[in-house]
Subunit: 228 residues, 2 copies
């Protein structure tokens, strides 16, 4: 499995991380995911750290049912067993979760594995072939202050963020943390391949419009970045 | 796989459920498990609901290393992925966790699967062959008030407990919840195949002595129960 093959697995352009509380419960969250996927979200992650795993499984099954027909991958945060049980498209883990080598062994070669990074050292540790072949993309964050992740690390400085994006090689890198309307351009300019959002979609009065607006802002930021 | 074959998989006589806080941290917990297993504990469960899964994995690996040479099975609470990653002997789930049919599919036919039950209806739901073939033992509890499980359900009445034990057929049933010195005989008399303990071993000044004393009390209770 080469890094180029990995890269083809996932489009991180507009990456929705679900929040059941912001969405207003499980059913509303599934509906949010569906509308976002219909309006430009390129990947959806289920993240519900306070849930029992019976609810995780049930909701993951529902998300898979609405996302698969739209060809939008479903990523499960932390729990490889839930991903295996619903045949999800992949798993996202943090630095304190199951190590990516173990995740890859459990989930097999064809699924997507993502890893959160918070500093340049985190990224540099991924550049050995053994590790790079275990992951398909990285999250870089938090890039802004965030209120939706209780155990969030310190915000990454602009300089370190740019160094992190410059160090990822061909591995797709998605910025995360406090990203919303008006905040995308600096991240794309710094080298992000995409942006992950939570509250900019979850709980918005018009999820379709919010998603389309974020997509338009992303396209404009890319055009501006390419022109420079 | 018949229920009789399942029964041979596990001896629930003296079932230790670990608590990292009571033990005083990860290293002390592994040592507690080792000493308990050397002194009569017949099975050990790792349960750490507040831990990140990197620590779960690391500790499960350490527990497997000390328990396997003693032929004492290691059961992982909730997380099938951790059990798969360390090739643990089994998984224990509650009513709100991954359903036992899904656990069985993920973990394969040869591992131990246990399920918590809190009332007679929970037990009666297990008596269809489809479900019975997915589990190897049940937990029945809480049989006494407990402080070590924050989301514990109401204590089961003596009458309901006896009905539950009478309904399990050949499935081993272990009583759990607030069990310690002096509290074992009524449970064995009511039909329990074994007792699960937390604070009666975790955090005890002399883990070896505490475990041996519980084992002696269990044997005496069984002798008394057989004599009646």
């Amino acid at each position: 499995m080469s890094a180029e093959l990995n890269k083809a697995k996932i489009d991180v352009s507009l990456y929705l991380v679900l929040d059941p509380d912001l969405c207003g419960g499980e059913a509303a969250m599934v509906e949010t995911a569906k509308i976002a996927a219909q309006n430009g979200a390129t990947v959806v992650q289920l993240r519900a750290p306070n849930w029992k795993k019976g609810l995780w499984l049930q909701c993951a099954q529902q998300l898979k049912a609405v996302l698969a027909p739209l060809n939008v991958p479903l990523i499960i945060n932390d729990h490889v067993d839930i991903a295996l049980a619903v045949d999800a498209d992949g798993v996202h883990v943090g630095q304190s979760d199951i190590p990516v080598q173990v995740v890859r062994q459990l989930i097999g070669p064809n699924k997507i594995v993502g890893l959160s990074t918070n500093n340049l050292a985190n990224v540099e540790q991924l550049l050995t072939p053994e590790i790079a072949n275990c992951i398909d993309y990285i999250g870089v964050g938090p890039v802004y202050p965030t209120s939706t992740k209780k155990d969030a690390l310190p915000v990454i400085s602009s300089a370190e963020m740019a160094a992190m994006f410059a160090s990822t090689g061909s591995l797709p890198a998605v910025a995360i943390g406090g990203i919303g309307s008006g905040k995308i351009a600096p991240l794309i300019a710094a080298g992000a391949d995409g942006v992950a959002v939570v509250s900019a979609i979850c709980g918005q009065a018009d999820v379709a419009l919010a998603t389309r607006n974020l997509g338009a802002e992303l396209q404009a930021a890319r055009a501006q970045s390419n022109a420079n």
